[in-house]
Symmetry: C2
Subunit: 374 residues, 2 copies
Amino acid sequence: MLSDCVRMDSYSNAVFENKHHFEGKAVLDVGKGSGILAIWSAQAGARKVYAVDATKMVEHASELVKAISVQDIFEVIEGSMEDVTFPEKVFDVIISEWMGYFLLCESMFDSVICACECWLKPSGVMYPSHARMWMAPGRSGLVDQKKSDYEDAMNDCRQILKFIESYYGVDIRVLTNPFAKEQRKYYLNVDIAVEQPSNPNQVKGTPVIIKEIDCSTGTINGIIVYFNSSISSSITAENTRHCRFAGWFDVHFRGSHENRAPQEIELTTAPNEDFGTHWGQQVFLLHPPVRAHQEDNLILNFSLTRSKENHRNGTSVVYEQVLLRMNLDPDIFPVPAKMGKFSSPCLCRLVPRGFNGATRTVWKKVPRFAMQSM
Amino acid sequence: MLSDCVRMDSYSNAVFENKHHFEGKAVLDVGKGSGILAIWSAQAGARKVYAVDATKMVEHASELVKAISVQDIFEVIEGSMEDVTFPEKVFDVIISEWMGYFLLCESMFDSVICACECWLKPSGVMYPSHARMWMAPGRSGLVDQKKSDYEDAMNDCRQILKFIESYYGVDIRVLTNPFAKEQRKYYLNVDIAVEQPSNPNQVKGTPVIIKEIDCSTGTINGIIVYFNSSISSSITAENTRHCRFAGWFDVHFRGSHENRAPQEIELTTAPNEDFGTHWGQQVFLLHPPVRAHQEDNLILNFSLTRSKENHRNGTSVVYEQVLLRMNLDPDIFPVPAKMGKFSSPCLCRLVPRGFNGATRTVWKKVPRFAMQSM
């Protein structure tokens, strides 16, 4: 967290511009990390701050507490949110930097929901209080790069098979097709990547919200295991080659219904050349790209499923893997094998400008997405 | 396999220079892959060749069989070696390219052992018949590169903590030590890598065999789950900075006791600038390096343990992960957490030239090795 200025500033502003939420209050910091959120809560006037962390960072907590002179206020507990108990019966504030890539992937959302259900006062406040997931179509140089890598691999393959024929006298060129299939999967269908630094100019359609979450109404039974969203994005550039969908998120610090934050703070991971975050954007590449025109509508059905193997006892601590699908239509596309962090077939429909009935519908297939660089 | 000429030539020579092992015989190819071993077996005169493969390559087998006109000889069976059955009661030859990185890692050794125990004639022949694992001390530029990466990370850390102090007024420099510990693990202790192209000049001590395997005496109960080896390597260069141990393997095609191969073929993955293989060498880095002199003896206790999680039902098909330890002495070194493919503390003792009793003993600690680029 420490090296991401956007993230640091958002949390710092949220706490210090809404000090009255913290003054004299009991605060719970879920997933302590460096401890900076707990320290700020204490500096903003909290009566008591408990920081819960399952990692080894806890070992250094006592030194940290001494170093910043908040021994009386600050207490660190090692353990998972599901197991710990506190002398406090309830908390006024739950603060956490729980967000993962594309909000949920490798996030600690389950722990925050658990903390909210078990330990937040009815009038208590979540920091952050709300989250949104976004998507937008656009362009990306990655598509051409991957295509070129695929072509290089196929050229190598042909040369090797030719060499085997001439040197060993065995003609196994029949393996070209299965090799091509394998390479297409690797280069063209492994399609989700974090792009950073992100450039807003790459977005060529209206960004659309695919999911909104009110963190303060979370319950363990309400853990996200699946959601489906149908979105329509209007193309904003003339005659553009659409190569990708970019996904990102934002979170808001709004307080609660009874206890609104006078200074609402937003932390966004939207494409931003100057103020990008370490989260970057998740990029889902289209092979081949779609050519579209200004005011065309790009319609996308999108669904996200948590992978079962990381759903520990119904109350998983961390969203380590999120399975992401886009309009899985088994009649048109076979169900893909899971690969990497994401696995997804994509079906998006292009509705041209002035479309008022039937005709031109372009179906794009992106059979598999897999999270890279995570 | 197809693009590795050393590998291709070794198998091709082994089969065609020992044709009498194949003529009129029943051959079992474990882990078909491209099918080239089964094809060569058929071309060498085999009466029948069964190729067993658990992967999707099997789907293309019928096309391949047609393309190379060996329909009557060649049969492909999809499944794991532990489950399949054959019309043949026993086989005269079991051929397989089963070797993984550093011989056992990600190898199909279990499947080959299973095939040998269940399906090989008492007078039958394994191709390859023997395997050896080697280690040798030497130098490597990787050590300095990793040291430099670590120093860069620590400089970044110090700058961030300084910025936080000046900008947010919070002094959390006490976190420098835990961060340094984490970074040391990442940069200095994640220490096993494949080096390629490999350079024999980097070897600066006598290579030593740490394990020999007779493939034809394998039984399921004899699957390697652990072995320990104490080796002594004599330094061959004056005043050298020893930065690594390199590990590699070779396999031999010798036939069997009753049925020797007149042309014994060796496939080696030893450092070789011109004829390196895709396996490269596994490099275990020493931090800090040891300075040694010609004829010094470097004594190393080495142990290798198969990781439990990949030991499926007692008859794992693939050595996906191999845990590697070097002289784990809990009094001197804490037991390391497992990380990556390998995890290993290393304790090696340097015995100087002319050493004849007590005195100068240098203990080097390499707390963790983890396989990279695999």
